[in-house]
Subunit: 331 residues, 2 copies
């Protein structure tokens, strides 16, 4: 049951522990005979280096912590995938911690990561105040993902939500829409930029922005859509703050007996996998999700392995994905 240590291997191979250590790390620097003896002994004993002890003396764990609010959100899952992939590629591991409805649980999760001495931290969809995060960043490098900041201490990688909203509006306008409502998600992550991008794009086209308050959820989108349908001046197109909200809106429109895109065109945001299902086929704004994760890892490693000291902020442009929920308005 007890796992063999480097000393057991050294004894069996008839060499010093230091040599065993060297074989494990830089085998080419050891003579053939010793290397083979050590390797054989290790094999026979089932020796496995103890990363805990190694971390203690090296004072680095080669683990990157990732705290994210919700694994169910496929957006985060994709990003997490990119993170994991990039980390492994560079000789690091990713440790995920998820599921924060309340900020308190998030704080605990972060604290735990810090106690475990992860080498860097990626925060995904966090609502925590930037100042608070900055305070932690003297202990380790932190990258904010999917969130914008001008922080001098924190790195960030985000998508240009404003540009995404513009692409949605441009698409609808090019189809001939003029009455375009935006369901906005208040102050949720990214929502203000999507909203202001929408407003700016509308004005640029000489159109009047029309806003309805909703949320990033199916039910939030459904409720907002109900409000829109109860209004007087019916729009010909709706731009939802994300795909979930668009889905909710879609249900409400269906339930009202209206046709998409015949009566109302609908645009989402995020390009979740389900947006591509034939029965949904939602026109939406796509984001290179795995790339976001990879970029975040690279930002961290630039600090860790290359010694960068100043903050970097990366912005990735989103793309328009046209499916069948948008068409020219009825004449």
């Amino acid at each position: 049951m007890k796992q063999p240590t480097i000393l057991d291997v050294a004894e069996r191979a008839g060499v010093s522990k230091s040599l065993v250590s060297l074989v494990m790390r830089e085998p080419e620097r050891v003579s053939d005979a010793s290397r083979e003896a050590v390797l054989r002994a290790a094999q026979e004993l089932g020796y496995r280096p103890n990363a805990v002890a190694r971390s203690l003396v090296q004072r680095r764990t080669r683990v990157l912590g990732v705290v994210l609010s919700d694994l169910h959100n496929p957006f985060f899952a994709d990003v997490a995938d990119g993170i994991e992939e990039a980390a492994v590629e560079r000789g690091y591991r990713a440790m995920l911690s998820s599921g924060f409805l309340e900020p308190k649980r998030e704080r605990v999760a972060i604290e735990t990561m810090l106690e475990l001495r992860v080498d860097g931290l990626i925060m995904l969809g966090s609502m925590m105040k930037v100042a608070k995060i900055e305070r932690m960043s003297n202990a380790l490098p932190i990258a904010l993902l999917g969130r914008h900041t001008r922080s001098k201490a924190l790195d960030s990688v985000g998508v240009d939500d404003s540009a995404g909203a513009r692409k949605a509006v441009d698409h609808l306008v090019s189809l001939g829409h003029e009455k375009i409502v935006h369901i906005h998600a208040g102050t949720a992550a990214g929502a203000p930029r999507r909203r202001s991008g929408y407003e700016k794009a509308m004005r640029r086209h000489g159109l009047e922005p029309r806003l309805v308050k909703g949320a990033y959820t199916e039910s939030g989108g459904a409720a907002a859509m109900r409000e829109i349908l109860e209004g007087l001046d019916q729009p010909t197109a709706v731009f939802a703050p994300n795909d979930f909200a668009a889905l909710g809106a879609m249900e409400t429109i269906d339930a009202a007996g209206l046709d998409i895109p015949g009566d109302i065109s609908l645009v989402g945001y995020d390009d979740l996998a389900l947006a591509g299902l034939p029965r949904i086929a939602l026109t939406t704004i796509g984001q290179p999700r795995a790339d976001l994760g990879r970029e975040a890892v690279h930002l961290l490693l630039e600090r860790l392995d290359e010694g960068r000291e100043t903050a970097r902020h990366i912005v990735i442009p989103p793309t328009l994905v046209v499916r069948t929920t948008t068409a020219a308005p009825r004449p």
Copy 2:
């Protein structure tokens, strides 16, 4: 930049390192005066216990490793959530590692977990041979999730796929269906049991099982459905091996201009979130996913904290979720 250690705190508080350690672990055993002095010093220095050092001396990390094949699969995401929740509740942390298309990457991930000396391992959707897994289990307790085994060394928690299939068949038969085809997913995890459960249930109703080979994917379901529609004796109901396959079948049926459930009733398996979307509304077999995760954690902790030595295998019964893709067949 350098983090303070227990010695820094001890010096500042004017006590020994042992006392600081004690305050961190069992504050009630220390005099009020000392406790406060230590706590204040720790606070002022921003001291945070080093879990790496602690793990080394205690020879346990209080980390549970979770290797899963795919985070995108919402099933795994739900299970992972249950795992994380149960772990935190019991003073452990979960470390996720995901994304294995190839067995090789899975092996590396597991090896990494072992080097990090996680206290227990949960394997989710792994295709690795049981004998191989058993060989690792003398190093640490392992729980297999979503997979059945009679192993004497490994714990497992799974759903009763056979019973799930039976519920699907019973439901369809009670609606009046007799020509019920099952798309089976070959030897993929759980698939053989779903298939044999289907076969047994059919025979019990005096009906002839009818099988078509498919897969656990959308495209696999779509292809199988095409094969079914090209056949001579059209069924009135189709039981897919999972929701993704059902979705694929649904697309094929839609494309053929047939109505669900008018022409064909359709039952999925898994009850993914998307099965509940109004536009999909798939009748399916639901599994208490988060519970699966929680159970796996409990199994591990029974060994870790309560000293259980013999294997336990838990089977959780699934439930039928009726939506709108099933109805009585046309007379």
